[in-house]
């Protein structure tokens, strides 16, 4: 049974640092591979031996629940030895630089390192200093490629396609690596993208990435097939971006009224963690007919299994 998962795949990159580096065929390879793991993850025996003998190190410099546990589970289900570094107790707290940490870990011969870091480009720097493959689990505001891939898989699972869909990405775009990765990925797969945010949370020149820009949410949601909400990243906001959460909810929170501008069968997505009552109405978030938020988490494990498998080879 397990051997059927072991097909050889070709991918243009050694590392998964960002969607920007991938080709359409790379993306399809990953998504196709991930589909195999969806049913496995629902079955009783979830353990495979594809990555037996391989070592995976999770290096998370930022707090994370779903991404870290998702990568950990994915690695374990594939049979890899997974080590999650505890940054709080590590030498990094003693002032070790990222490059020195990388060289130290490299000397232990891991097969793959999964890194999350608060600085954009940290994974690029790490990848230059280690021999093994590096998977970016989020770097600063830049990219979060596995999140975009799992979002794409979720959309394909429900809508059977991405080509031609109208997708709105709403909220704190400025601080969001999820938004950037999704823009690259969904654009490549042929979706039409509406980016909705207050001007203070809209990155400069984002329209040059081939998206439509809106500061009015109702206009931005009009006739959309997918409404992807993003978390308001208050921890990254250094000065006054918004007057209040209350006003933000009034104008940019996803409510039934605003959702009514999208298509009737529109799906709601959110990468989590959610600020209920700030960017999304709590009932909508839990509405099993509209919200696919839990499914995103579920398929996240499958996508990460595919990524670990492909980039470990």
């Amino acid at each position: 049974m397990a051997t059927s998962f072991k097909k050889a795949v070709k991918i243009s990159q050694k590392n998964l640092l960002g969607i920007q580096d991938l080709s359409i065929s790379d993306i399809n390879v990953i998504l196709d591979d991930a589909k195999q793991f969806i049913s496995l993850n629902k079955s009783k025996n979830k353990k495979l031996d594809i990555l037996r003998g391989k070592t995976q190190i999770n290096l998370f410099f930022e707090p994370s629940t779903r991404t870290q546990s998702s990568f950990e589970l994915a690695g374990k289900r594939l049979g890899a030895d997974v080590m999650s570094m505890n940054i709080v107790n590590s030498a990094i707290k003693k002032g070790e630089t990222l490059i020195d940490t990388a060289m130290t870990l490299n000397a232990m011969h891991p097969d793959i390192i999964v890194i999350r870091h608060q600085d954009s480009g940290a994974c690029n720097l790490l990848s230059q200093k280690v021999n093994c493959a590096v998977i970016n689990a989020g770097d600063g505001r830049r990219e979060h490629p596995t999140q975009a891939l799992l979002d794409a898989l979720t959309i394909i699972d429900r809508k059977k396609k991405i080509q031609g869909l109208k997708i709105a990405i709403c909220g704190d775009i400025l601080h969001s690596r999820v938004a950037r990765s999704n823009i690259y990925l969904l654009n490549m797969l042929g979706a039409e993208l509406n980016i909705v945010a207050p001007s203070n949370l809209m990155p400069k020149d984002i329209d040059k990435l081939g998206v439509n820009k809106f500061s009015d949410m109702k206009k931005g949601l009009k006739d959309c097939d997918i409404v992807m909400m993003l978390r308001l990243q208050n921890e990254r906001m250094t000065s006054s971006f918004l007057s209040s959460n209350r006003e933000y909810y009034e104008y940019y929170g996803l409510t039934p009224d605003k959702l009514s501008y999208a298509k009737d069968d529109a799906l709601i997505m959110h990468p989590g963690p959610m600020n209920r009552g700030i960017e999304i109405d709590t009932k909508l978030a839990d509405d099993i007919n509209k919200s696919v938020i839990k499914e995103q988490v579920e398929l996240g494990v499958a996508v990460r299994m595919a990524c670990l498998k492909i980039f470990c080879e």
Binding site: T97, I99, Q118, S120, G121, N124, L125, K204, L209, S239
Partner: protein
Amino acid sequence: MKKKYFLNANIVDPYNSIEEIGGLIIDEEGKIEAIGKKVNKNNIPSREKFIDLKEKYIFPGLVDMRVFVGEPGYEYKENFRTLSNAALAGGVTSVVTMPNTSPIVDNVSIVDFIKRRGRDKSKINIYPTASLTKNLEGTNMTEFGLLQKKGIVGFTDGTQTIQNTRLMSRIMRSAYDLNSLVMQHAEDYELAKNGMVNDGIIATQLGLHGIPDLAEKIIIERDLSLLEDFNCRYHISQISSSKSVDAIERKKDIVNFTTGVSINNLSLNENDVGDFRTFLKLSPPLRTEEDRISLIKAINKDLVDVIVSDHKPEDEESKRLTFTQAATGASGIETLLPLALELFHNDSVKLFKLIKLLTSNPAKILKINKGNLSVGSDADLCIVDIYKPWIVKKEKIFSKSKNTSIDDKKLQGQVLNTFVKGEELFKI
């Protein structure tokens, strides 16, 4: 010192409006004895040896108005000896050093130290600046008058900007009374907060905080408005964007001021940052290609007065970090002239004008007798093969820090010899 005779050189000396083929004689004192087309084989003693510089160029030694030296406090980045060697390799014979040392140059006792170290350890002319405010804090101004008497040529907070408008107006008043030169690094802190690259599509894609061009323009407009009322000697250290060029152009006929630009902003743009190249984390940041072209146009319209290297040596450890953590600045004094010559080779700027912005213009702003080849002046000069191709290799850099912004770049034009006070101190 023996007399030196150079013949058949292309001499460019903007101060004296010389651009001709001719000779140059350095006397026993290291001063220029004669210069120009009248100096030829026939009017030098036949027993004397001369050097034929056919197809080579003689320029006055460059005057670089924005140079960071690590002494005191950051000797591991650059000391006066390594700075001097790097400068000589680039044909630079006079530098204006920034006060951002540790301790900061903000009082007369430290000036003595710098002058002494500069004199003992370097072979080039060192012109130190002092900070505008004590400890660079932007609150209390330094003793312009007393510092000037000790030999300070100008006042600047270097990498810092005076944010407080009232303080800036008072600085200008004092500078007017004391005839002091004020040099401002124009950046509004709040607009530029946490910024590292130009605010635009590159910042968005790389996920880095941007520095908007407005942050520079607003300080320039503020200062030039103040200047209308408090007319002191005022110099904008560096501009980087077309918005700033517009702001300068609007005021050029109304108030007197001068403007500098870094060779980095004239030669590179934001795309060069590429895949998080920390050596290109600069202040002001590299901006768009349109901005770069507007700066070149500004030179040709005489809106920009000087070109600087903005030489900021940073050790490897300060750059081997994530882009966010990495230090700002690039080492560049050795490549200032060759990079500037690129603007000549690609027909952007005339050679005479380039040399003017690198020699006589900065000297005039600083009120120093440098950057010229006048008879009777110190023979500070460089001999250059402006067509010689070469490749920048960071291992070969003389500066103590190897953080060049143009590693592996192909350049055309190299300094062959550099003389200070008639003495040959660099030879390739």
